[in-house]
Symmetry: C2
Subunit: 457 residues, 2 copies
């Protein structure tokens, strides 16, 4: 069976594939409210079965997971494809140009909630596998795990994984979520930055005070907070919380080589940032985004912020900080370090923790990683943007930490997919190309020696 | 004519005096909206005339001034009594227990807008002067200037003063506004801290950015502001703006002696400030409030301040600062120093100025100052709290800078007068005692040698 035949088959079945995607999109599956999620799981199971894929809905403590598989033989390379069938709420509805749950084609794009995030992407994998099965299934096992609560934090997934270790056993995970490069070039990435989100509150007097009658004799939590923060992070890239950088993994020579080759749209960057110039090279730029943790103020507030003047000494001051973490920083450990740093200085400070995500790293140097990049190169006829890590965060640690698998991300959506926003969309060609890309990856991995692909893991 | 006779006369005329005050209170005079201000001026002129005081309403570029005088002879000591007949708006009306413009007596207090601030206080002076006139006017000149826009910034007053220098010629100004000490002891003070109110805004990117996709490569105005502020004021009492402290007048030995004798309610202070203990002595406390400028954050804001988390890099950050200034700091000069300090570091920073007041100082050591304190001691049968300066601010510079007069403040209102708030009030006894106090001051100053009183000015 040649790749050309599959591509030909896919070209002949575009309408059928689009209709199946439309069916899945029309079935709401809003995990925030639970609306339609269970029905959507049933629908996907029935579609998968109709396409010759063994599939079933599996209940969790939260919303169900859809699991499916096409097995060649137990000894073959096993790919676990992760996707999610739940979607964000569609609000604000008035900003949509067409019904968010009735897929509508305009300007060569499918407009609908979930079109790009993530129905159009996991359906591309399902349809690719089904096409391969139809044309002659290669010597490879493919397993699908479709999360029903990704948009709400995937809270049931760790326990689900714990209870289904044997079923989920695989050699590599491939996920498609998020966009390609704005130039249209495909992207392959190998991890995400983690996250620790914390809030610090300092309190002074019982209530805001008259700044004349109390100025110089009242506690000043706003100044305390400024001095605390300045001591914590006196200049960019220099966090003074003890042990903050202890576990940071430096970029490897290979990763440095990769980011040297990543495009840096300097003109657009300078315009967006309102800067005249930057001394950053593209290597600096990507290094900062991928290999360096952040200490970012998401919000700071104290006292009067309305128009004009009000002469008070505010009674409290708050800051919300998100730390984007890099391998091998541990959110728990960083939180403890932060807490000690703050409490040593302000024992009465309140510190709240709003969530965390462990940073992840799959080596882009692995044979399997290089094989996927090569498949993407061939499948797209373009040079992929190979990216060691996303600057953003995602629960990739469920794959790398809980399943202990190399995790490779190959997004299929267009850069302007508007995920989480009104008028979410996926380009028709991005959807069709996604199917071809998935088929190419499965096909090409199946043709290689499993031992060779996995020898360096 | 003895003081005893006057006190006796005042005791016999309490009802008449109260009714006159009620008439003035009932006539609204809200300078913020202008409502009733002109009518109130007419009413006061007619009351003054009825009491035998030469009086007239004088138009300004804003709201009218009421001027009145009782002249003994051109060579006698001349006191200028400053007060204001305008009031704050009464809102929020629903929090008043009785109609704000219908004076109501409860618990021995007159509840009404303007009762304490300032109608009950300037009327005390007018009624005292009228009583003295009735019983035999002493060898002294008294002039009244009643401001119609004090609650709105007294903006027309500088020009009014410029145009009426001859009319306003005097040797000393006495004003009664604000409260006595919470213990009931009278207060005499000799100046106010000044004020400079400024806002600094720093801007980063065009809009708030995703903190994952841009963290470490985007401008961070919140951090910039923290570092700027920390550099400006790294610890309490240590402002690093060049020349900030250049013009600060140290406390004199006499002033140090005065503040050593001022009461410091440490228990109440610690409770309000939520502190366990303080190393501050009463001298430290009052020194900080009177002789040291403040660098106070009234408000600081940037980014997300709602519940929970939002992962953004805010595009801008703002801080509102009020500097309480001490003699001889100059708001213009301090603003220029601030602007230079900020612009040197952030040339694109926006700096707004919301207003200023020049700090003032009248020496408490002057013969005239000591004479007023002595009169207050005798008039109240209590040891006055003699206070070199208020921690708060007021346009006292109109008297000290524009009229070039020593300015002495003798507040008549109770400490819980609720000025500017719902249920403003003035104690009946505070009103009657105010009349006696004013009469005592005028009477006693008239009996002393003018040359002696003024020899050290």
């Amino acid at each position: 069976m040649s790749l050309n035949n599959i591509v030909k088959y896919l070209g002949q079945n575009e309408e059928k594939h689009l209709n199946l995607l439309f069916d899945v999109i029309r079935q709401k599956s809003i995990s925030a409210t639970g609306e339609g999620v269970d029905k959507c799981a049933d629908l996907i199971v029935s579609i998968m079965k109709g396409l010759g894929i063994r599939a079933r809905k599996i209940d969790t403590e939260g919303l169900p997971v859809v699991y499916g598989e096409i097995m060649a033989n137990p000894d073959a390379l096993t790919i676990l494809i992760y996707g999610h069938y739940d979607v964000q709420p569609a609000e604000p509805l008035e900003e949509w140009l067409s019904d968010p749950f009735e897929p509508t084609i305009r300007d060569g794009k499918i407009f609908a909630r979930g079109s790009g995030d993530n129905k159009g992407q996991f359906m591309a994998h399902i349809l690719a596998a089904a096409a391969l099965k139809k044309e002659g299934w290669p010597d490879i096992n493919v397993k699908f795990i479709l999360d029903g609560e990704e948009e709400s934090g995937s809270e049931s997934l760790p326990k689900f994984i714990e209870e289904h270790r044997e079923m989920l056993k695989a050699d590599v995970a491939i996920s498609s979520d998020g966009p390609k490069h704005p130039s249209g070039r495909p992207v392959v990435f190998f991890g995400v930055r983690g996250l620790l989100y914390a809030e610090i509150e300092l309190e002074g007097a019982k209530a805001d005070l008259h700044s004349g009658n109390n100025g110089n004799v009242a506690p000043t939590p706003a100044w305390d907070l400024i001095r605390l923060l300045n001591e914590m992070y006196p200049s960019d890239g220099d966090c003074k919380i003890p042990h903050f950088y202890d576990d940071v993994l430096p970029a490897t020579e290979y990763e440095k080589e990769l980011i040297k080759n990543m495009p840096f749209a300097k003109v657009e960057y300078l315009e967006q940032m309102q800067l005249k110039d930057t001394s950053m090279t593209n290597e600096d730029f990507w290094h900062k985004l991928m290999f360096e943790p952040t200490v970012n103020i998401c919000g700071i507030g104290s006292g009067y912020q309305g128009a004009g003047s009000k002469t008070i000494i505010p009674a409290r001051a708050n800051v919300k900080i998100d730390f984007r973490l890099v391998p091998n920083q541990d959110p728990d450990k960083i939180f403890n370090c932060l807490e000690s740093f703050v409490k040593e200085r302000y024992p009465k400070a309140k510190i709240r923790r709003y969530g965390d995500l462990i940073p992840t790293k799959t080596s882009a140097e692995l044979n399997i990683s290089r094989a996927v990049v090569e498949a993407v190169r061939i499948g797209s006829h373009m040079e992929p943007v190979v990216q060691p890590r996303l600057g953003g965060s995602a629960p990739d640690y469920l794959i790398t930490e809980h399943l202990k698998l190399p995790s490779i991300w190959v997004p299929f959506a267009n850069a302007d997919e508007n995920n989480h926003s009104p008028n979410e969309n996926m380009g028709l060609s991005d959807f069709y190309d996604g199917i071809k890309m998935s088929a190419t990856i499965i096909h090409m991995l199946a043709r290689q020696s499993k031992d060779k692909l996995l020898e360096d893991i």
